[in-house]
Amino acid sequence: MTIEARGVVKSFGAFKALDGVDLKVANGELLALLGPSGSGKTTLLRIIAGLEWPDAGEILFDGENALDRGARERHVGFVFQHYALFRHMNVFENVAFGLRVQPRRIRKTEAQIRARVKELLDLVQLDWLADRYPSQLSGGQRQRIALARALAIEPRILLLDEPFGALDAKVRKELRQWLRTLHHSINVTSIFVTHDQEEALEVAHRVVVMDKGRIEQVGSPSDVYDSPATAFVHGFIGESIMLPVEVTGGAVHLNGRPLDIAVEGGAAGASTLFVRRHDMLIGPADSGTLHGAVTHVRSFGPVQRAEIALTEGSTIEIDAPRDRELRIGDRVGLKPRHYRIFAGG
Protein backbone atom coordinates (compact mmCIF):
# COMPACT_ATOMS: atom_id res chain seq x y z
CA MET A 1 0.00 0.00 0.00
CA THR A 2 1.31 3.47 -0.83
CA ILE A 3 0.80 6.47 1.44
CA GLU A 4 0.62 10.02 0.24
CA ALA A 5 0.28 13.23 2.22
CA ARG A 6 -0.61 16.40 0.33
CA GLY A 7 -0.28 19.81 1.91
CA VAL A 8 -1.10 18.58 5.40
CA VAL A 9 -1.53 21.38 7.93
CA LYS A 10 -2.29 20.90 11.59
CA SER A 11 -2.46 23.60 14.25
CA PHE A 12 -2.90 23.33 17.99
CA GLY A 13 -4.32 26.70 18.91
CA ALA A 14 -2.03 29.29 17.35
CA PHE A 15 0.84 26.82 17.05
CA LYS A 16 1.43 25.14 13.68
CA ALA A 17 2.57 21.59 14.39
CA LEU A 18 2.50 20.68 10.68
CA ASP A 19 2.93 23.38 8.10
CA GLY A 20 2.21 21.97 4.64
CA VAL A 21 3.66 18.47 4.56
CA ASP A 22 3.94 16.64 1.23
CA LEU A 23 5.19 13.08 1.28
CA LYS A 24 4.96 9.92 -0.79
CA VAL A 25 5.77 6.50 0.59
CA ALA A 26 6.16 3.63 -1.86
CA ASN A 27 4.61 0.23 -1.41
CA GLY A 28 6.65 -1.96 0.94
CA GLU A 29 9.04 0.82 1.81
CA LEU A 30 10.61 1.33 5.23
CA LEU A 31 10.76 5.07 5.78
CA ALA A 32 12.38 6.85 8.70
CA LEU A 33 10.98 10.13 9.98
CA LEU A 34 13.77 12.04 11.60
CA GLY A 35 13.71 15.39 13.32
CA PRO A 36 14.26 17.24 16.57
CA SER A 37 11.77 17.12 19.41
CA GLY A 38 8.59 19.02 18.62
CA SER A 39 9.11 18.96 14.86
CA GLY A 40 5.74 17.28 14.27
CA LYS A 41 6.74 13.66 13.70
CA THR A 42 4.19 12.15 16.06
CA THR A 43 1.51 14.51 14.79
CA LEU A 44 2.08 13.35 11.21
CA LEU A 45 1.91 9.68 12.22
CA ARG A 46 -1.27 10.26 14.20
CA ILE A 47 -2.88 11.96 11.23
CA ILE A 48 -1.95 9.06 8.97
CA ALA A 49 -3.37 6.62 11.53
CA GLY A 50 -6.59 8.62 11.91
CA LEU A 51 -6.03 9.48 15.56
CA GLU A 52 -5.85 13.17 14.67
CA TRP A 53 -7.43 15.17 11.85
CA PRO A 54 -5.59 17.70 9.69
CA ASP A 55 -6.89 21.25 9.33
CA ALA A 56 -6.07 21.15 5.64
CA GLY A 57 -4.57 18.75 3.14
CA GLU A 58 -5.15 15.18 2.10
CA ILE A 59 -4.03 11.72 3.09
CA LEU A 60 -4.24 9.08 0.38
CA PHE A 61 -3.81 5.33 0.75
CA ASP A 62 -3.21 3.70 -2.64
CA GLY A 63 -4.53 6.89 -4.18
CA GLU A 64 -7.80 6.78 -2.21
CA ASN A 65 -8.82 9.40 0.29
CA ALA A 66 -8.14 8.03 3.77
CA LEU A 67 -9.67 10.97 5.63
CA ASP A 68 -13.13 9.57 4.87
CA ARG A 69 -12.37 6.74 7.22
CA GLY A 70 -11.84 6.74 10.96
CA ALA A 71 -8.90 5.12 12.69
CA ARG A 72 -10.94 1.96 13.07
CA GLU A 73 -11.39 1.44 9.35
CA ARG A 74 -7.90 2.35 8.23
CA HIS A 75 -6.18 -0.90 9.18
CA VAL A 76 -3.09 0.89 10.30
CA GLY A 77 -0.88 -0.85 12.81
CA PHE A 78 0.36 1.73 15.31
CA VAL A 79 3.18 1.09 17.74
CA PHE A 80 3.07 3.83 20.34
CA GLN A 81 6.06 5.58 21.80
CA HIS A 82 5.13 4.39 25.29
CA TYR A 83 3.85 0.99 24.14
CA ALA A 84 0.26 1.57 25.37
CA LEU A 85 -0.16 -2.13 26.12
CA PHE A 86 -3.44 -3.01 27.82
CA ARG A 87 -2.29 -3.23 31.41
CA HIS A 88 -5.01 -5.53 32.66
CA MET A 89 -4.54 -8.10 29.89
CA ASN A 90 -1.72 -10.60 29.67
CA VAL A 91 0.57 -10.69 26.69
CA PHE A 92 -1.53 -13.27 24.88
CA GLU A 93 -4.72 -11.23 25.24
CA ASN A 94 -2.93 -8.05 24.23
CA VAL A 95 -1.88 -9.61 20.96
CA ALA A 96 -5.27 -11.26 20.49
CA PHE A 97 -7.20 -8.02 21.06
CA GLY A 98 -7.36 -6.89 17.44
CA LEU A 99 -8.66 -10.32 16.42
CA ARG A 100 -11.27 -10.51 19.18
CA VAL A 101 -12.90 -7.16 18.40
CA GLN A 102 -13.47 -7.92 14.74
CA PRO A 103 -17.10 -7.95 13.57
CA ARG A 104 -18.65 -11.35 14.14
CA ARG A 105 -19.03 -12.26 10.49
CA ILE A 106 -15.28 -12.07 9.83
CA ARG A 107 -14.05 -12.98 13.29
CA LYS A 108 -11.75 -15.99 13.51
CA THR A 109 -12.61 -18.96 15.68
CA GLU A 110 -10.94 -19.27 19.07
CA ALA A 111 -8.61 -21.95 17.70
CA GLN A 112 -7.62 -19.75 14.77
CA ILE A 113 -7.01 -16.81 17.09
CA ARG A 114 -4.81 -18.94 19.33
CA ALA A 115 -2.83 -20.17 16.36
CA ARG A 116 -2.36 -16.66 15.00
CA VAL A 117 -1.25 -15.22 18.34
CA LYS A 118 1.18 -18.07 18.79
CA GLU A 119 2.57 -17.37 15.34
CA LEU A 120 3.03 -13.67 16.13
CA LEU A 121 4.65 -14.36 19.48
CA ASP A 122 7.04 -16.71 17.71
CA LEU A 123 7.76 -13.98 15.19
CA VAL A 124 8.80 -11.57 17.93
CA GLN A 125 10.49 -14.45 19.75
CA LEU A 126 8.53 -14.03 22.96
CA ASP A 127 6.14 -16.98 22.96
CA TRP A 128 7.37 -17.91 26.44
CA LEU A 129 5.92 -14.68 27.87
CA ALA A 130 2.31 -15.29 26.83
CA ASP A 131 0.96 -15.38 30.40
CA ARG A 132 2.82 -12.36 31.74
CA TYR A 133 1.28 -8.95 32.25
CA PRO A 134 2.82 -5.84 30.70
CA SER A 135 4.12 -4.63 34.07
CA GLN A 136 6.18 -7.82 34.31
CA LEU A 137 8.04 -7.22 31.04
CA SER A 138 11.23 -5.36 30.24
CA GLY A 139 11.09 -2.34 27.95
CA GLY A 140 12.41 -4.23 24.94
CA GLN A 141 9.93 -7.05 25.50
CA ARG A 142 7.03 -4.60 25.76
CA GLN A 143 8.14 -2.98 22.55
CA ARG A 144 8.09 -6.28 20.70
CA ILE A 145 4.71 -7.23 22.16
CA ALA A 146 3.34 -3.87 21.03
CA LEU A 147 4.62 -4.67 17.57
CA ALA A 148 3.11 -8.16 17.60
CA ARG A 149 -0.22 -6.67 18.70
CA ALA A 150 -0.15 -4.17 15.84
CA LEU A 151 0.72 -6.91 13.35
CA ALA A 152 -2.13 -9.15 14.48
CA ILE A 153 -4.69 -7.27 12.40
CA GLU A 154 -2.53 -7.72 9.30
CA PRO A 155 -2.22 -3.97 8.87
CA ARG A 156 -1.81 -2.46 5.46
CA ILE A 157 0.51 0.12 6.96
CA LEU A 158 2.75 -0.03 10.00
CA LEU A 159 3.55 3.14 11.94
CA LEU A 160 6.14 3.04 14.69
CA ASP A 161 6.57 6.07 16.94
CA GLU A 162 10.07 6.05 18.35
CA PRO A 163 9.92 2.30 18.73
CA PHE A 164 13.23 2.13 20.53
CA GLY A 165 13.12 5.51 22.23
CA ALA A 166 13.04 4.31 25.81
CA LEU A 167 15.63 1.56 25.49
CA ASP A 168 19.34 1.50 26.21
CA ALA A 169 21.88 1.69 23.41
CA LYS A 170 22.67 -2.00 23.21
CA VAL A 171 19.07 -3.19 23.11
CA ARG A 172 18.31 -0.51 20.53
CA LYS A 173 21.00 -1.83 18.24
CA GLU A 174 19.68 -5.37 18.49
CA LEU A 175 16.07 -4.38 17.92
CA ARG A 176 17.02 -2.14 15.04
CA GLN A 177 18.57 -5.01 13.12
CA TRP A 178 15.69 -7.19 14.12
CA LEU A 179 13.20 -4.64 12.77
CA ARG A 180 15.00 -4.50 9.46
CA THR A 181 14.92 -8.27 9.14
CA LEU A 182 11.30 -8.36 10.19
CA HIS A 183 10.33 -5.72 7.68
CA HIS A 184 12.13 -7.71 5.03
CA SER A 185 10.04 -10.79 5.81
CA ILE A 186 6.58 -9.14 6.14
CA ASN A 187 7.21 -6.31 3.71
CA VAL A 188 4.43 -3.98 4.82
CA THR A 189 4.73 -0.25 4.09
CA SER A 190 6.21 1.21 7.25
CA ILE A 191 7.09 4.58 8.69
CA PHE A 192 9.11 4.80 11.83
CA VAL A 193 9.85 7.88 13.83
CA THR A 194 13.13 8.41 15.55
CA HIS A 195 15.32 11.22 16.66
CA ASP A 196 18.34 9.00 16.55
CA GLN A 197 19.93 9.71 13.18
CA GLU A 198 22.18 6.67 13.27
CA GLU A 199 19.08 4.52 13.66
CA ALA A 200 17.35 6.22 10.75
CA LEU A 201 20.35 5.99 8.44
CA GLU A 202 21.01 2.38 9.30
CA VAL A 203 17.51 0.91 9.08
CA ALA A 204 15.52 2.88 6.53
CA HIS A 205 15.32 2.78 2.75
CA ARG A 206 14.65 6.49 2.72
CA VAL A 207 14.90 9.16 5.37
CA VAL A 208 12.62 12.15 5.83
CA VAL A 209 14.11 15.01 7.82
CA MET A 210 11.57 17.30 9.47
CA ASP A 211 11.93 20.59 11.28
CA LYS A 212 9.28 22.92 12.67
CA GLY A 213 6.40 21.14 10.99
CA ARG A 214 8.01 21.09 7.55
CA ILE A 215 9.89 18.49 5.56
CA GLU A 216 13.43 19.66 4.96
CA GLN A 217 14.66 16.80 2.84
CA VAL A 218 13.65 13.35 1.64
CA GLY A 219 16.27 10.99 0.35
CA SER A 220 18.29 7.85 0.76
CA PRO A 221 20.54 7.72 3.84
CA SER A 222 23.55 8.57 1.69
CA ASP A 223 21.67 11.49 0.07
CA VAL A 224 20.85 13.19 3.32
CA TYR A 225 24.28 12.52 4.76
CA ASP A 226 26.42 13.41 1.76
CA SER A 227 24.29 16.08 0.10
CA PRO A 228 22.22 17.82 2.74
CA ALA A 229 19.68 20.07 1.05
CA THR A 230 19.55 22.73 3.74
CA ALA A 231 21.67 24.16 6.49
CA PHE A 232 19.32 22.55 9.01
CA VAL A 233 19.83 19.07 7.58
CA HIS A 234 23.60 19.51 7.46
CA GLY A 235 23.64 20.58 11.06
CA PHE A 236 21.20 17.92 12.20
CA ILE A 237 22.58 14.86 10.40
CA GLY A 238 26.11 13.87 11.24
CA GLU A 239 28.41 16.12 13.20
CA SER A 240 29.41 19.30 11.45
CA ILE A 241 31.77 22.17 11.94
CA MET A 242 29.92 25.41 11.30
CA LEU A 243 31.77 28.64 10.58
CA PRO A 244 30.16 32.00 9.89
CA VAL A 245 31.53 33.29 6.57
CA GLU A 246 30.93 36.15 4.18
CA VAL A 247 30.65 35.49 0.44
CA THR A 248 31.62 38.56 -1.62
CA GLY A 249 33.23 39.06 -5.00
CA GLY A 250 33.37 35.35 -5.77
CA ALA A 251 35.38 34.52 -2.65
CA VAL A 252 34.67 33.14 0.78
CA HIS A 253 35.84 35.27 3.69
CA LEU A 254 36.26 34.27 7.29
CA ASN A 255 36.56 37.23 9.61
CA GLY A 256 37.49 39.43 6.63
CA ARG A 257 40.28 37.12 5.41
CA PRO A 258 39.67 35.31 2.08
CA LEU A 259 39.80 31.49 2.21
CA ASP A 260 41.33 29.39 -0.50
CA ILE A 261 38.13 27.56 -1.33
CA ALA A 262 35.64 27.90 -4.17
CA VAL A 263 32.20 29.41 -3.61
CA GLU A 264 29.73 26.60 -3.64
CA GLY A 265 25.95 26.39 -3.80
CA GLY A 266 25.32 29.93 -4.98
CA ALA A 267 25.39 31.53 -1.56
CA ALA A 268 26.02 35.25 -1.25
CA GLY A 269 26.45 37.62 1.66
CA ALA A 270 26.44 36.35 5.22
CA SER A 271 26.59 32.54 5.03
CA THR A 272 27.62 29.48 6.96
CA LEU A 273 30.35 27.07 5.99
CA PHE A 274 29.56 23.46 6.91
CA VAL A 275 32.27 20.82 7.07
CA ARG A 276 32.02 17.29 8.44
CA ARG A 277 34.52 16.78 11.22
CA HIS A 278 36.39 14.09 9.35
CA ASP A 279 36.41 16.16 6.15
CA MET A 280 38.65 18.80 7.68
CA LEU A 281 42.15 17.71 6.68
CA ILE A 282 44.92 18.54 9.07
CA GLY A 283 48.49 19.42 8.03
CA PRO A 284 51.59 21.41 9.03
CA ALA A 285 51.17 24.99 10.19
CA ASP A 286 52.18 26.45 6.82
CA SER A 287 49.70 24.35 4.83
CA GLY A 288 45.95 24.63 4.33
CA THR A 289 43.77 27.71 4.44
CA LEU A 290 42.72 27.80 8.08
CA HIS A 291 45.22 27.98 10.90
CA GLY A 292 45.16 27.41 14.58
CA ALA A 293 46.55 25.69 17.64
CA VAL A 294 45.52 22.40 19.22
CA THR A 295 43.96 23.03 22.63
CA HIS A 296 42.60 19.59 23.49
CA VAL A 297 42.92 16.01 22.21
CA ARG A 298 40.78 12.97 23.00
CA SER A 299 41.19 9.54 21.44
CA PHE A 300 38.48 6.96 21.07
CA GLY A 301 37.60 4.35 18.48
CA PRO A 302 39.26 4.75 15.10
CA VAL A 303 39.77 8.52 15.40
CA GLN A 304 41.07 11.19 17.68
CA ARG A 305 39.10 14.34 18.24
CA ALA A 306 41.07 17.55 18.45
CA GLU A 307 39.84 20.90 19.57
CA ILE A 308 41.50 23.67 17.64
CA ALA A 309 41.45 27.39 18.36
CA LEU A 310 41.53 29.15 15.01
CA THR A 311 43.53 32.32 14.60
CA GLU A 312 40.34 33.74 13.10
CA GLY A 313 38.70 33.49 16.49
CA SER A 314 36.42 30.43 16.53
CA THR A 315 37.13 27.10 18.17
CA ILE A 316 36.31 23.95 16.19
CA GLU A 317 36.44 20.20 16.79
CA ILE A 318 37.82 17.94 14.09
CA ASP A 319 38.32 14.20 13.72
CA ALA A 320 41.81 13.14 12.64
CA PRO A 321 43.23 9.65 12.03
CA ARG A 322 44.88 8.25 15.14
CA ASP A 323 48.26 7.82 13.48
CA ARG A 324 48.55 11.59 13.02
CA GLU A 325 50.36 12.61 16.17
CA LEU A 326 48.78 15.66 17.81
CA ARG A 327 49.83 17.39 20.99
CA ILE A 328 48.33 20.29 22.82
CA GLY A 329 49.93 23.49 21.61
CA ASP A 330 50.81 22.19 18.12
CA ARG A 331 50.20 24.73 15.41
CA VAL A 332 48.35 23.24 12.45
CA GLY A 333 46.93 24.15 9.05
CA LEU A 334 43.49 22.97 7.96
CA LYS A 335 41.69 22.54 4.68
CA PRO A 336 38.18 21.23 4.10
CA ARG A 337 38.03 18.26 1.71
CA HIS A 338 34.27 18.45 1.26
CA TYR A 339 32.16 21.32 2.41
CA ARG A 340 28.89 23.16 1.78
CA ILE A 341 28.04 26.80 2.05
CA PHE A 342 24.47 27.80 2.87
CA ALA A 343 23.18 31.34 2.81
CA GLY A 344 22.33 32.84 6.18
CA GLY A 345 24.34 33.21 9.37
Partner: protein, 300 residues
Protein backbone atom coordinates in the same frame (compact mmCIF):
# COMPACT_ATOMS: atom_id res chain seq x y z
CA UNK B 1 -7.64 12.94 57.18
CA UNK B 2 -4.33 14.51 58.13
CA UNK B 3 -4.30 12.47 61.29
CA UNK B 4 -4.74 9.30 59.35
CA UNK B 5 -1.78 10.24 57.21
CA UNK B 6 0.42 11.08 60.16
CA UNK B 7 -0.23 7.62 61.49
CA UNK B 8 0.49 5.95 58.19
CA UNK B 9 3.77 7.70 57.82
CA UNK B 10 5.19 6.63 61.17
CA UNK B 11 7.92 4.07 60.62
CA UNK B 12 6.74 0.55 61.30
CA UNK B 13 9.65 0.04 63.65
CA UNK B 14 7.50 1.70 66.32
CA UNK B 15 7.15 -1.69 68.01
CA UNK B 16 10.72 -1.28 69.19
CA UNK B 17 9.74 1.97 70.95
CA UNK B 18 10.72 4.10 67.95
CA UNK B 19 14.23 2.74 67.95
CA UNK B 20 16.83 5.47 67.70
CA UNK B 21 18.63 3.45 65.08
CA UNK B 22 15.68 4.03 62.78
CA UNK B 23 15.90 7.73 63.53
CA UNK B 24 19.50 7.77 62.45
CA UNK B 25 18.69 6.02 59.22
CA UNK B 26 15.80 8.29 58.28
CA UNK B 27 17.04 11.81 57.58
CA UNK B 28 13.54 13.26 57.91
CA UNK B 29 13.02 11.78 61.35
CA UNK B 30 12.31 14.16 64.23
CA UNK B 31 13.83 13.51 67.64
CA UNK B 32 12.16 10.53 69.32
CA UNK B 33 10.44 12.65 71.96
CA UNK B 34 8.72 14.82 69.37
CA UNK B 35 7.50 11.79 67.50
CA UNK B 36 6.20 10.10 70.63
CA UNK B 37 4.37 13.29 71.59
CA UNK B 38 2.80 13.70 68.16
CA UNK B 39 1.73 10.08 67.92
CA UNK B 40 0.26 10.13 71.42
CA UNK B 41 -1.65 13.26 70.56
CA UNK B 42 -3.00 11.72 67.38
CA UNK B 43 -4.07 8.54 69.14
CA UNK B 44 -5.68 10.46 71.97
CA UNK B 45 -7.55 12.63 69.50
CA UNK B 46 -8.75 9.64 67.50
CA UNK B 47 -9.84 7.85 70.68
CA UNK B 48 -11.92 10.74 71.93
CA UNK B 49 -13.51 11.76 68.66
CA UNK B 50 -13.83 8.48 66.77
CA UNK B 51 -13.44 5.41 68.93
CA UNK B 52 -15.31 6.66 72.00
CA UNK B 53 -18.53 7.62 70.17
CA UNK B 54 -18.52 4.28 68.37
CA UNK B 55 -18.18 2.43 71.66
CA UNK B 56 -20.95 4.51 73.20
CA UNK B 57 -23.29 3.65 70.32
CA UNK B 58 -22.85 -0.06 70.87
CA UNK B 59 -22.94 0.16 74.67
CA UNK B 60 -26.22 2.06 74.55
CA UNK B 61 -27.66 -0.23 71.89
CA UNK B 62 -26.99 -3.35 73.95
CA UNK B 63 -27.72 -1.58 77.26
CA UNK B 64 -30.82 -3.69 77.95
CA UNK B 65 -29.42 -6.90 76.48
CA UNK B 66 -29.38 -8.60 73.14
CA UNK B 67 -33.11 -9.42 73.17
CA UNK B 68 -34.12 -5.78 73.58
CA UNK B 69 -31.68 -4.87 70.84
CA UNK B 70 -33.11 -7.41 68.41
CA UNK B 71 -36.72 -6.56 69.18
CA UNK B 72 -35.94 -2.87 68.61
CA UNK B 73 -34.69 -3.76 65.16
CA UNK B 74 -37.69 -5.99 64.49
CA UNK B 75 -40.09 -3.11 65.12
CA UNK B 76 -42.16 -2.38 61.95
CA UNK B 77 -41.13 1.26 62.01
CA UNK B 78 -37.47 0.26 62.12
CA UNK B 79 -38.01 -2.23 59.31
CA UNK B 80 -39.69 0.37 57.17
CA UNK B 81 -36.77 2.77 57.72
CA UNK B 82 -34.24 0.08 56.82
CA UNK B 83 -36.12 -0.84 53.65
CA UNK B 84 -36.52 2.78 52.62
CA UNK B 85 -32.84 3.50 53.24
CA UNK B 86 -31.74 0.48 51.21
CA UNK B 87 -34.10 1.41 48.39
CA UNK B 88 -32.98 5.03 48.27
CA UNK B 89 -29.32 4.00 48.40
CA UNK B 90 -29.80 1.51 45.56
CA UNK B 91 -31.46 4.09 43.34
CA UNK B 92 -28.93 6.82 44.13
CA UNK B 93 -25.90 4.61 43.69
CA UNK B 94 -27.26 3.24 40.41
CA UNK B 95 -28.01 6.68 39.01
CA UNK B 96 -24.75 8.19 40.14
CA UNK B 97 -22.76 5.26 38.84
CA UNK B 98 -24.05 5.91 35.34
CA UNK B 99 -23.77 9.66 35.71
CA UNK B 100 -20.30 9.52 37.28
CA UNK B 101 -18.93 7.19 34.60
CA UNK B 102 -20.33 9.36 31.84
CA UNK B 103 -19.02 12.57 33.37
CA UNK B 104 -15.55 11.19 34.11
CA UNK B 105 -15.34 9.66 30.64
CA UNK B 106 -16.33 12.91 28.97
CA UNK B 107 -14.03 15.03 31.09
CA UNK B 108 -10.92 12.90 30.83
CA UNK B 109 -11.09 11.49 27.32
CA UNK B 110 -12.38 14.45 25.34
CA UNK B 111 -11.82 18.15 24.99
CA UNK B 112 -14.92 20.27 24.75
CA UNK B 113 -15.96 23.82 25.59
CA UNK B 114 -17.41 24.18 29.08
CA UNK B 115 -15.31 21.36 30.51
CA UNK B 116 -14.02 23.40 33.44
CA UNK B 117 -17.54 24.50 34.18
CA UNK B 118 -18.73 20.90 34.27
CA UNK B 119 -15.97 19.98 36.74
CA UNK B 120 -17.02 22.87 38.97
CA UNK B 121 -20.63 21.80 38.71
CA UNK B 122 -19.80 18.27 39.82
CA UNK B 123 -18.35 19.64 43.04
CA UNK B 124 -21.39 21.77 43.77
CA UNK B 125 -23.04 19.37 46.25
CA UNK B 126 -19.84 19.36 48.30
CA UNK B 127 -19.96 23.11 48.73
CA UNK B 128 -23.66 23.50 49.38
CA UNK B 129 -25.19 22.71 52.75
CA UNK B 130 -27.35 19.57 52.45
CA UNK B 131 -30.27 21.44 53.98
CA UNK B 132 -30.14 23.94 51.13
CA UNK B 133 -30.01 21.07 48.64
CA UNK B 134 -33.18 19.69 50.21
CA UNK B 135 -34.84 23.10 50.13
CA UNK B 136 -34.18 23.41 46.43
CA UNK B 137 -36.34 20.36 45.88
CA UNK B 138 -39.06 21.75 48.12
CA UNK B 139 -39.03 24.94 46.05
CA UNK B 140 -39.24 22.89 42.88
CA UNK B 141 -41.80 20.28 43.80
CA UNK B 142 -43.63 21.70 46.85
CA UNK B 143 -47.29 22.72 46.75
CA UNK B 144 -46.23 26.37 46.34
CA UNK B 145 -43.24 25.35 44.27
CA UNK B 146 -42.41 25.79 40.66
CA UNK B 147 -43.70 22.43 39.46
CA UNK B 148 -46.07 21.84 42.40
CA UNK B 149 -49.41 22.68 40.77
CA UNK B 150 -48.62 20.66 37.65
CA UNK B 151 -47.63 17.65 39.77
CA UNK B 152 -50.80 17.96 41.79
CA UNK B 153 -52.92 18.06 38.64
CA UNK B 154 -51.34 14.85 37.48
CA UNK B 155 -51.56 13.26 40.90
CA UNK B 156 -47.79 12.79 41.15
CA UNK B 157 -46.33 12.69 44.64
CA UNK B 158 -42.66 13.61 44.77
CA UNK B 159 -42.15 15.55 47.95
CA UNK B 160 -42.72 13.68 51.24
CA UNK B 161 -42.42 10.40 49.33
CA UNK B 162 -39.79 8.02 47.95
CA UNK B 163 -39.05 10.02 44.74
CA UNK B 164 -38.27 13.20 46.68
CA UNK B 165 -36.01 11.42 49.13
CA UNK B 166 -34.24 9.63 46.29
CA UNK B 167 -33.77 12.87 44.31
CA UNK B 168 -32.32 14.72 47.28
CA UNK B 169 -29.98 11.82 47.99
CA UNK B 170 -28.89 11.58 44.35
CA UNK B 171 -28.09 15.27 44.37
CA UNK B 172 -26.06 15.11 47.56
CA UNK B 173 -24.10 12.03 46.49
CA UNK B 174 -23.45 12.66 42.84
CA UNK B 175 -19.82 13.83 43.13
CA UNK B 176 -18.50 10.60 44.64
CA UNK B 177 -18.20 8.32 41.62
CA UNK B 178 -17.06 11.07 39.25
CA UNK B 179 -14.53 12.35 41.80
CA UNK B 180 -13.09 8.88 42.34
CA UNK B 181 -12.67 8.33 38.61
CA UNK B 182 -11.47 11.65 37.20
CA UNK B 183 -7.95 11.62 38.68
CA UNK B 184 -7.50 7.94 37.90
CA UNK B 185 -8.63 8.32 34.30
CA UNK B 186 -6.64 11.50 33.84
CA UNK B 187 -3.55 9.71 35.04
CA UNK B 188 -4.16 6.78 32.70
CA UNK B 189 -4.59 9.03 29.67
CA UNK B 190 -6.10 7.98 26.36
CA UNK B 191 -3.29 5.89 24.94
CA UNK B 192 -4.83 2.50 25.56
CA UNK B 193 -8.11 3.68 24.06
CA UNK B 194 -6.30 4.95 20.98
CA UNK B 195 -4.51 1.64 20.66
CA UNK B 196 -7.82 -0.21 20.93
CA UNK B 197 -9.45 1.91 18.26
CA UNK B 198 -6.56 1.59 15.86
CA UNK B 199 -6.81 -2.18 16.36
CA UNK B 200 -10.38 -1.96 15.12
CA UNK B 201 -12.41 -1.81 18.35
CA UNK B 202 -15.67 0.13 18.37
CA UNK B 203 -16.42 2.78 20.98
CA UNK B 204 -18.40 0.36 23.13
CA UNK B 205 -15.82 -2.40 22.80
CA UNK B 206 -13.15 0.07 23.83
CA UNK B 207 -15.15 1.14 26.85
CA UNK B 208 -16.03 -2.33 28.10
CA UNK B 209 -12.78 -4.10 27.23
CA UNK B 210 -10.21 -1.40 27.92
CA UNK B 211 -11.49 1.56 29.89
CA UNK B 212 -13.76 -0.16 32.39
CA UNK B 213 -11.33 -2.92 33.43
CA UNK B 214 -8.69 -0.25 34.00
CA UNK B 215 -10.90 1.73 36.36
CA UNK B 216 -12.93 -1.01 38.04
CA UNK B 217 -11.38 -0.47 41.45
CA UNK B 218 -11.95 3.25 41.18
CA UNK B 219 -15.57 2.59 40.28
CA UNK B 220 -16.03 0.35 43.32
CA UNK B 221 -14.37 2.95 45.49
CA UNK B 222 -16.73 5.66 44.27
CA UNK B 223 -19.74 3.39 44.71
CA UNK B 224 -18.67 2.56 48.23
CA UNK B 225 -18.37 6.17 49.32
CA UNK B 226 -21.53 7.11 47.44
CA UNK B 227 -23.41 4.33 49.20
CA UNK B 228 -22.11 5.27 52.65
CA UNK B 229 -23.21 8.84 52.15
CA UNK B 230 -26.56 7.86 50.61
CA UNK B 231 -27.42 5.70 53.61
CA UNK B 232 -26.17 8.21 56.14
CA UNK B 233 -27.53 11.43 54.61
CA UNK B 234 -29.57 13.43 57.10
CA UNK B 235 -29.93 17.10 56.21
CA UNK B 236 -31.25 17.05 52.66
CA UNK B 237 -33.46 14.05 53.31
CA UNK B 238 -34.87 15.58 56.49
CA UNK B 239 -36.16 18.57 54.52
CA UNK B 240 -37.95 16.56 51.82
CA UNK B 241 -39.09 13.54 53.84
CA UNK B 242 -42.05 14.96 55.76
CA UNK B 243 -41.28 12.49 58.58
CA UNK B 244 -44.33 10.30 58.00
CA UNK B 245 -43.91 7.52 60.54
CA UNK B 246 -43.40 4.09 59.06
CA UNK B 247 -43.31 5.58 55.58
CA UNK B 248 -40.82 8.33 54.81
CA UNK B 249 -38.30 8.05 57.62
CA UNK B 250 -34.87 6.81 56.63
CA UNK B 251 -32.60 5.28 59.24
CA UNK B 252 -30.80 8.51 60.20
CA UNK B 253 -34.15 10.32 60.52
CA UNK B 254 -35.58 7.54 62.65
CA UNK B 255 -32.54 7.62 64.94
CA UNK B 256 -33.23 11.25 65.68
CA UNK B 257 -36.96 10.77 66.21
CA UNK B 258 -36.48 7.84 68.58
CA UNK B 259 -33.78 9.68 70.46
CA UNK B 260 -36.02 12.69 70.96
CA UNK B 261 -38.64 10.33 72.35
CA UNK B 262 -36.12 8.93 74.82
CA UNK B 263 -36.26 5.48 73.22
CA UNK B 264 -32.57 5.01 73.77
CA UNK B 265 -32.24 1.32 72.95
CA UNK B 266 -34.27 1.59 69.75
CA UNK B 267 -32.46 4.74 68.69
CA UNK B 268 -28.99 3.37 69.32
CA UNK B 269 -29.87 -0.02 67.84
CA UNK B 270 -30.48 1.64 64.49
CA UNK B 271 -27.49 3.89 64.99
CA UNK B 272 -25.41 0.76 65.55
CA UNK B 273 -26.41 -0.49 62.10
CA UNK B 274 -25.19 2.76 60.58
CA UNK B 275 -22.01 2.51 62.62
CA UNK B 276 -21.40 -0.99 61.31
CA UNK B 277 -21.94 0.28 57.79
CA UNK B 278 -19.29 2.89 58.49
CA UNK B 279 -16.83 0.29 59.76
CA UNK B 280 -17.38 -2.00 56.79
CA UNK B 281 -17.01 0.96 54.45
CA UNK B 282 -13.74 1.88 56.10
CA UNK B 283 -12.29 -1.59 55.72
CA UNK B 284 -13.46 -1.94 52.12
CA UNK B 285 -12.07 1.51 51.37
CA UNK B 286 -8.62 0.54 52.59
CA UNK B 287 -8.62 -2.58 50.45
CA UNK B 288 -9.83 -0.69 47.38
CA UNK B 289 -7.26 2.07 47.77
CA UNK B 290 -4.52 -0.54 47.59
CA UNK B 291 -5.96 -1.91 44.35
CA UNK B 292 -6.41 1.52 42.79
CA UNK B 293 -2.72 2.20 43.40
CA UNK B 294 -2.06 -0.82 41.22
CA UNK B 295 -4.13 0.70 38.42
CA UNK B 296 -2.19 3.95 38.42
CA UNK B 297 0.26 3.99 35.54
CA UNK B 298 3.91 3.55 36.46
CA UNK B 299 6.75 5.38 34.84
CA UNK B 300 8.59 3.05 32.58
Amino acid sequence: MSIEMTLQRTPDGSARSLAESAARRDPRAEPAIVRVAIITLAIAFLSIFVVLPLVVVFVEAFGRGVVAYLSALADPEAWSAIRLTLGVAAVSVGTNLVFGLAAAWAITKFDFPGKTFLITLIDLPFSVSPVISGLVFVLLFGAQGFLGPWLQDHDLQILFAFPGIALATIFVTFPFVARALIPLMQEQGTQEEEAAISLGASGLQTFFRVTLPNIKWGVLYGVLLCNARAMGEFGAVSVVSGHIRGETNTMPLLVEILYNEYQMVASFAIASLLAMLALITLIAKTILERNIDGDMPHDD
